[in-house]
């Protein structure tokens, strides 16, 4: 099951040229771009591991692309995303976030139902991939 998260998630995966164009737009808008990765696909897993510090003061996307490629090399079977942070007063939040790398196989999620008091049912999902310890998934 293909994870959809962040911007462009319903499009086919972006090519390197498209990623460069998006990063270039972010830099031109004055946003600081950072790269993050994880192997836990749960939708509530908000805080991914940082690949280095956010990159400030860049003006050309080549530097970001270099870090993306290094992260892909180190974690070819992880999810990798690019965040662009808008630091302007009044916004101060992530302005753009999109996935740039995903595992070759995404096994999907198990939906489990638990019966609780008064025949109520609570639902939870868990990725089949996360049955294995972190680092050995995918």
């Amino acid at each position: 099951m293909r994870i959809t998260q962040g911007a462009f998630s319903f499009l086919p995966d972006l090519s390197d040229e498209e990623i460069l164009a998006q990063v270039s737009y972010s830099l031109d808008s004055g946003w600081a771009v950072s790269v993050e990765f994880t192997d836990d696909p749960h939708p509530r897993n908000t805080y991914w591991s940082m690949w280095g510090l956010p990159m400030f003061d860049l003006s050309d996307p080549a530097g970001v692309m270099y870090e993306i490629n290094r992260c892909r090399q180190a974690y070819p079977n992880h999810y990798v995303r690019v965040n662009a942070f808008d630091s302007s007063y009044g916004r101060q939040t992530t302005a753009l976030s999109f996935i740039v790398n995903r595992p070759a196989e995404e096994p999907g999620f198990r939906l489990s139902r638990t019966e609780t008091q008064d025949r109520r049912i609570s639902y939870s999902i868990s990725s089949y991939a996360s049955n294995k310890p972190s680092g050995e998934r995918y």
Binding site: S15, D16, L20, S29, L58, S59, D60, G63, Y66
Partner: protein, 333 residues
């Protein structure tokens, strides 16, 4: 999974030749740049209008403004004109689909302090940008402190950080010979040099490195780092200014700041230059600038302490001989 997205993972990236940056506000603005879009490859018997090509890249305007705003520096200007001609020819060759690899653009600027190395580097960035060899055309000026770390494992990230910032523009390394300290075997400068060499070789499309410094020390630096020497295509030597050129520079600076020399001040300044040039630590244009700053200070002091109640516009603009002759240079100790 789209495999093309992971096609090349190495340092170099496969990208089309067209500039992709379409976002608002690049370093110099889209308008300053020759339009690369829509240029199809020409047939073998087509002809290119040279003046139109020059017009499009605006190199003549940039070279002319260089000529106008920078006094002297004959050999430097010739070299710049040569480089820009090469790049222009290269652009035209590309339109005929003639194969030519991207020229090596890394440079070394050598010369005494205050001969305009940083200024020319800035112009160079602008020139390369308008010819389409740089994507942004900004200048990142650094020294050893910005590149070399303080402990093991600190240098590589620090250097890479600077390199990333400089991408799309020019990385200007002032006094580059400090990177190499032969007297200390464990100096981290060597690591910086290795990373620099790697990037200079592999990411030639993304940035141009200009190293600068005193002539003799740069020569020694290149001698002990042959790898650096072979990766730098253009060695530009900045000559010292003659006394007439320095005088001209002084006029330009004064004009910029709406001041002028009175008749006797001109004479005094000529004498001042002669004396100052003979003294140690003479830094060409920088010394001239500082001298003018100091005479402005003295002029201000003279006006404030003067007995006259009424001050005219001319008084505020004029620098007299007295303002110059009070300099330390004239007090023969």
């Amino acid at each position: 999974m789209d495999t093309s997205a992971k096609g090349s993972w190495d340092f170099q990236m496969n990208r089309p030749d067209q500039p992709r940056s379409k976002g608002p506000g690049t370093a110099l603005g889209e308008g300053d740049r020759a339009a690369d879009e829509g240029e199809t490859h020409l047939s073998n018997d087509a002809l290119i209008d040279l003046s139109e090509e020059k017009e499009k890249t605006k190199i003549e305007a940039i070279l002319a403004s260089l000529d106008e705003e920078l006094v002297g520096l004959g050999p430097v200007k010739t070299k710049l004109a040569e480089i820009s001609s090469l790049l222009l020819v290269d652009r035209m060759r590309k339109r005929f689909s003639l194969v030519s690899s991207r020229p090596n653009l890394h440079m070394s600027f050598t010369g005494s302090p205050g001969t305009g190395k940083t200024t020319v580097a800035m112009r160079m960035a602008q020139l390369l940008f308008s010819l389409g060899y740089l994507k942004k055309g900004h200048l990142v000026a650094v020294t050893r402190d910005d590149l070399v770390g303080q402990y093991i494992g600190h240098t590589a990230p620090k250097t890479k950080e600077v390199l990333k910032r400089a991408m799309g523009g020019v990385l200007f390394i002032d006094e580059a010979y400090y990177l190499y300290r032969p007297e200390n075997e464990r100096d981290y400068g060597q690591e910086t040099i290795e990373i620099l060499l790697q990037v200079m070789e592999n990411q030639r499309d993304d940035l141009v490195v200009i190293v600068a410094g005193y002539k003799d020390r740069m020569d020694k630096f290149f001698e002990s780092n042959p790898g650096m020497n072979s990766r730098i295509a253009h060695h530009v030597d900045f000559p010292d200014y003659s006394i007439e050129e320095l005088d001209q520079i002084a006029r330009l600076i004064l004009k910029d700041q709406s001041y002028y020399f009175s008749k006797d001040a001109e004479e005094a300044f000529g004498e001042y230059l002669k004396k100052r040039m003979a003294q140690p630590h003479f830094a060409n244009a920088r010394s001239v600038r500082n001298a003018i700053e100091r005479s402005r200070l003295r002029q201000a002091n003279r006006i404030v302490n003067s007995q006259s109640e009424k001050i005219s516009k001319d008084d505020l603009m004029k620098i007299t001989a007295e303002d110059i002759r009070l300099s330390r240079v004239f007090s023969d100790l």
